[in-house]
Assembly symmetry: D2
C-alpha cells in the first residue's frame, strides 16, 4: 500500500567477473494529515522510529475513525495543529522497539489503545491514565498531541505500559473497537454508572458509544435497558446490541415514557448520556430515580443548566470521564470467551489507502447506516 518509487540501479563490482545490480526504491509512507479546520489529506510522511527508550513503532494493520476525529476536523480541538497525523485506535505489528523495551518484540501483534499511560505518575498508578501527567495531564495523545494511527506506521510512546498483546485466535476486527468505544461505553457509562444486576438503565443516544454502553450494560446484568434515540435505524441497532426497548423522544416526554416503563414510575437506576448536548444531559437528570446515577459519556461543547433546586435532595450522583482503558484486558477476555461480539461495530470496510473515502462514509454515517469503519492495511 505504501508507494514505492523506483529510484534507479546501482552496479557494484563484487568479485572477479561478477557484479551485483542493486535496484533502489524509495518507500513513501502515507498517513491522514490534518491541515487546519476542514482540511485533511492523505500525505506522504516521514518513517517513524523510536524516539525514547520506552517507545515502539508499529505497522498499522487495522485502524478506524472516531467521532472525535470529526470534531478535530471542525476545528473544535485547538491543541491539534496543522500537520498532525490523526487517529488514536489501531491493531498493529511491532516493527521496532526502544532500548528499554523488554516485554515486546518485533513481530508482536498489539492493540494500540486511545490512551497512553506512562505507568509512573500518580494518575497512572491509581489506574486513571486518562489524566496521565507525562503529557501534561491528558492520556489521549495520539492524533492529538503527537502523530496518530491513521498511518502506515506509528510511533507508540510508553509502549509497555500502554499497548496490549493480541492473543492468538482473535481477529483484528474483534479487538479494534477495544481501543476506544467499547471501554468508553463500559468504563465511562456502565462502570461509572455502577450498573449492577437487576438495574433499570436508560441510555440516551444510540450511536456507537451508546451502543457500547448498551452492550456492556446488558453484559453486566441490567434487568432492563431502555434506549432513547430519535433515529429509527439506531433504535434498531440498540435492540440488536442488547436494549430491551428503544423509545423515540418524538413519541412523548422522555421522563413520562421512562416512568411508564419502570415500577411505580420511579425512573431509572442509571441514566447514561451518550450524545453530548445540554438537552440530552437534562433528560438524564429527569429520568433518573432518587438515589440513582447519571453517567455522562458525551463530549460536550457547551455548558448546561443543572437544576440543583430539584436535584440537591435527590441523592443523585453525576459522573464524567474520559476512557482510561483499564478494562481492555477484561473486555479482551470477554471477546475471547464469546461473551462480547466486539466486531459488530464494524459495518464498512476500507483499505488504508482508501482513508479519504472512509472519512466520507463515516462523516455521513446516518446516510450509510454506518456504525464504524474498519480500515485495513
Amino acid at each position: 500500500m505504501s508507494q514505492w518509487a523506483f529510484r534507479g540501479r546501482i552496479r557494484v563490482g563484487f568479485q572477479a567477473g561478477i557484479a551485483l545490480i542493486v535496484r533502489v526504491w524509495e518507500v513513501r509512507l502515507k498517513a491522514l494529515v490534518y491541515h487546519g479546520p476542514g482540511q485533511k489529506s492523505w500525505d506522504t510522511v516521514a518513517d517513524p522510529a523510536p524516539a525514547e527508550p520506552t517507545d515502539i513503532v508499529v505497522q498499522v494493520d487495522t485502524t478506524t475513525i472516531c467521532g472525535t476525529d470529526l470534531h478535530i476536523l471542525k476545528g473544535d480541538v485547538p491543541a491539534v495543529t496543522d500537520g498532525r497525523i490523526l487517529g488514536h485506535e489501531a491493531v498493529g505489528t511491532v516493527t521496532a522497539v526502544g532500548s528499554a523495551v523488554t516485554s515486546l518484540a518485533e513481530g508482536d501483534r498489539v492493540l494500540v489503545p486511545a490512551i497512553t499511560s506512562c505507568g509512573r505518575c500518580a494518575y497512572c498508578k491509581r489506574a486513571m491514565p486518562s489524566h496521565c501527567q507525562a503529557a501534561g495531564g491528558i492520556g489521549w495523545i495520539f492524533g492529538h498531541l503527537i502523530d496518530g494511527t491513521q498511518a502506515e506506521y506509528a510511533r507508540v510512546p510508553f509502549a509497555e505500559t500502554s499497548v496490549h498483546k493480541v492473543p492468538e485466535g482473535v481477529t483484528d476486527e474483534q479487538v479494534l473497537f477495544l481501543a476506544d468505544i467499547l471501554p468508553t461505553g463500559y468504563e465511562v457509562g456502565v462502570k461509572n454508572g455502577r450498573v449492577k444486576p437487576g438495574d433499570v438503565v436508560v441510555v440516551v443516544g444510540a450511536g456507537p458509544v451508546g451502543l457500547a454502553a448498551i452492550q456492556t450494560g446488558a453484559l453486566a446484568g441490567a434487568a432492563s435497558i431502555i434506549a432513547l434515540e430519535p433515529a429509527q435505524s439506531r433504535r434498531e441497532h440498540a435492540l440488536r446490541f442488547g436494549a430491551d426497548v428503544a423509545i423515540d423522544p418524538a413519541d412523548g416526554d422522555a421522563e413520562e415514557q421512562v416512568a411508564a416503563l419502570t415500577d411505580a414510575g420511579l425512573g431509572a437506576d442509571v441514566a447514561i448520556e451518550a450524545v453530548g448536548t445540554p438537552g440530552t444531559f437534562d433528560i438524564c437528570t429527569r429520568v433518573v430515580r432518587p438515589g440513582g446515577v447519571i453517567a455522562n459519556i458525551g463530549v460536550h461543547g457547551a455548558p448546561t443548566t443543572l437544576h440543583l433546586e430539584d436535584l440537591w435532595i435527590k441523592n443523585v450522583t453525576i459522573t464524567t470521564g474520559l476512557v482510561d482503558g483499564t478494562t481492555v484486558p477484561l473486555l479482551l477476555q470477554l471477546v475471547r470467551s464469546g461473551k462480547i461480539a466486539a466486531e459488530l461495530y464494524g459495518t464498512h470496510d476500507f483499505a488504508l489507502n482508501e482513508m479519504m473515502a472512509a472519512y466520507d462514509t463515516f462523516a455521513e454515517a446516518g446516510r450509510h447506516n454506518a456504525l464504524k469503519v474498519v480500515i485495513k492495511r
Copy 2:
C-alpha cells in the same frame, strides 16, 4: 387438601315455618412436623393466627424442601426441636394481618423468604438481616426457631419488613426459588465473591446452590465459569445453567486443571465453595489466583485446615455468609424481564399432601436426577 371431617348437622328455627340446616365440618390443617433425628410426619396441626401486631398469616400455595431440612432431619441442627413444622420457603396468599400491618392485605400474593427481618436492629438496618437481633442474632427462624412453611398455613412475623409482593404475571414456580437458593448463590457466592465482568470463576459443586452461583455469575458478566463437580448429571446441569466448562475432579488435580484453563496458569479470580467440606474448601484456596476471592457458600459441619503459610502472602479474601435476601427485589426484576429462568430449578412436582413423597425424592436427588421439588397446594 386440608382434611374436612363432617361433625354433624344443626337445625336452627328461623321464622315461622322456616328452618336453617347448618352442616358443620372440622378443618384439619396439615404440616410436615419434625419429631427428632430421623423422624418426621405429616401431622394435623393448629390453625395459625397473628400473634404480634406485625404478623401476617399466609396460606401456603407453593413450597419446597431445602438441603438444610435434610440436615435437620439428621439431627445436625439442635435448635430444631420435636414438634417443629419445617420449611423456610414459600409462595402464599395472605389470609390474616396483624393490627400494625398497613401495606399488606388479605388476598395479597407474597413470597415468604428464608430470612425474617425485624427492620429495626443494627443488622437489619445495615441490610444484613441474616443476623437480625430480634431472634437472637439469626434471621433464619422459619422451620428452625418457629414453625415453618411446609404447611397449609404459616404465621409470618415482621411481615412488612420481610415478605415480597409477587407481581402479576409471575408464576409461583418463577418466584419460589427466590426464597432461598437464588439469593444464596448470588449474595453469598457471586456478590461476596465480587464477580465482575470479565472474571474467571470456579464453582466447586454443582448442586442447586452451586447452579444458582453459576447462573447468577454468568448474569454478572463472568468471562468464564468453570464448574468442578464429580457427578456427570450435575456437570450437565452446570453447562445448562451457564458454566462454560465443567470439569471432573477425577480427571486430575483440580489446581492443575484450572491452571490449564486460565491465562498464564494463574487460576481463578473468584472461587466459590458450594459443597461444605474441608476438601472442597481447600480446593478453592488452591485454584484462586493472588488477589482473588474465595466465597464460601457451603454449610460446614467440621473445621478445616487453612494453609496460612501459603495464603498470608497471596492477597486473598475469604468470605462466608448466610443469605440476607436483600437481592430478592432485583432478582425478581431479572425474572420479570426474562433474564433469569428461575423456574429451571424445579424438576419434580408434588401436591402438598404428597409432602412425604417429596421428601423421599429430594433425599435421593441424585437417583432421581432431581434439583428441587415444587410442592403445590
Copy 3:
C-alpha cells in the same frame, strides 16, 4: 413550662363526715407554630397521642432550630402549611407507645432524628430513608408534612425504625446535633465525597453544616482540610473544628488560592459545597482535581450553570443528597469514645418557652456569633 390554668375546685363527698376537694387545672401544651410566610407564634396546641400502632409520643427535652426552619418561614417550602408545628430534631423521653412497639418503653430516652424511616420500603431497605416511600418519597416529615419537635410533646411515627436510644452517660447536648447536622456533614459531605485518609478536602462555607463536614472529614483522616469562607468568625470556627487552613474568597481567586495550597497545583481530591448558591457550587467544580469528587450539601433554590464543556473530560463525580441518618449509631460511638465533640455546635442556650427568642438569635447568627441554639425543657 407548660401553662397550667386553674379551672376550679370540686368537692366530692366521700364517706360519712369526709369529703375530698379536687382542684382542677387545664394543661396547655405549647409549640412553635407556622402561620404562613413570615408568621410564627408560640401557641397552645393539642396533646399528641399515638395514631398508629408503630407510633410513640415523646416529651421533648431538648431541641434546636435548623437553617431549613428559616427557609420555611420565608415561604420557600410550600409543602409546609399554616398551623404546622416546626422542628425536626429532638432529644426526648418516651411517654406513650403504640400497640406494635415492643423495643421502646415509657421513660426511654431517645434521639428523634430529622429523617423518619418506615423500614419497609425499597429505599429504607437500601439504607436510604431520605427517600422513604411511606410519606411519598421523602423521609423528612417532622415540621414539614406532620407536626414537629419544637413543642413540649411530639408524636413520632415508625418509631422503632427511626429513633435511637440514648446511652447512659451521654448528655442531651452531646447527642442533639446527631439529629441532623453532624450526619448531614458526614453522610452528604464526607461519605458521598469519599474522603479517605490522605485526601486534600476543600469545604466551601463554614456554617454549622460546613463545620460538621470539616469535623468529620478530619476524623476520616484527611491530610488537609481547606475551608473557604468570607466571614472571619466562621473561618475561626473552621480552624477550631479541624480545618488546617481557612481562606477568604476576598483574598483572591478561589481556584488559584487552592492550587497554591496543593501539590503541583492540582487542586482538591474532594470539594464539599456547604452553602447552596450557584457561585459556591461553581467554585467547587473549579477547585477539584481530575478524578475528584464534588459533594453538594447545600440546599439550592435556583439552577446553576454546569460547565460540562470543561468537566466532561475531568473524571469528576458530583453527588447530591439529603441526610439519611444511617450513620447516627456510629457517630454516637464516636461521641461516646470522645472522638467527636458534638456539643461544640451549641453556642446559645434557651428554655423551651423562650422559643421565640431562640429564633431571633438563630436568625441573626452572624451578629450573635452563634452556631446552633440549644433549647431545653
Copy 4:
C-alpha cells in the same frame, strides 16, 4: 564510611620537567551479607551500576531492619541464598540512572520501598504490585531475589514505577518507615479490614506492624481500638500510638475481654492479626462480630485450623496480603501535614558500619525496649 585502601602511587611524565603523581585508592563498599542460616557478615561488596535502562543506583542514606530479615537469618525463606545483601527499606540519594530514566536524576532524594513495581504487568496495573509478574509473581525482591538496601549503595530496578521522591522538609526518619511497616499496617490491616469511622477494632499483637495498624486505624476514625498484647511495654506503646485500651491475654479469655468492651458483647467490627501464629489468628476469628472482617498481617509459617463450622454462618471476611505500597504517597501527605508521626517507630540509632550491632539490638528488641532501628550513613 566506605573503606578506602591506598593502593600506591603512579608517576606520570607530563611535560618537560613536570610530572604528575597520582595516588590510587581502592574504594571498598560494604554491605550486610547473608551466608546461610544463622550466618551474616558486614562484607566488602561490588559497586552496583544500572543493569537495565530502567534501573537507578542510590546511595543509602538511611535504612532499617525488618522482622522478615530475622526470619531470613533463621533460614525460613529458602529463596534467599548465600551471598545475598539483605534489606528492603531505604531513604537514599540517586547516584546513577539508566538510559530510559527521565523523571529521576542524580542527587534526587528518594524513598526505596519494600515492593518493586514494573508498572506493566496486570498486577501492577491493578495497583497490586505485591504480585508483580516481572519477578515471577512477587514484588518483594530487595534482599530476597536481588541484593538489598543494607548497603552503602543499592541498584534499584524499575525505579520510576517504584521509588518516591522525598519532598523537602521531610526528614529521613519521617519517611523511612513508609518503606514497609506503615503501609503494611495501613493497607494489609486497616484498608483490607475496611476500618471506617465509628468502628471497634481489635489489633492482636503490638509489635511494630501492629502499632502501625493501631496508628493508621486511629487516623481512619475508629471509635475504639483495643490492643491485645502480652508484653506490658508493648501495651504501653499501643496506647501511645492510638489504642484506646490495651488488654493482656493473661487477664482472661480474649473473646470475653473483648465482648465486655463492646456494645451488647457483639465483638469487634474488625480484628487485625499482627503476630502470625495459629493461636492469634484463631483469637481474631472469635473476637469479630457477625458481618465483621479479619485482616491478617502476620507472616505465618504453619497452617491453622479454621472453624468453618462456626464461621460459615457469620458473614465474616478474612483477608491476607503482602503490602503493595500504593498508599505511600498518601501516607507521605499525612506525614507532611503532621497527621502521622512516622518517626516514632525509630527508637535506636546506628551508623551504617554498626550494622552488626543494629542487628543485635533489633534481634532482642524486647530486652532493649526497641521498636525499629534507624541506621544512617
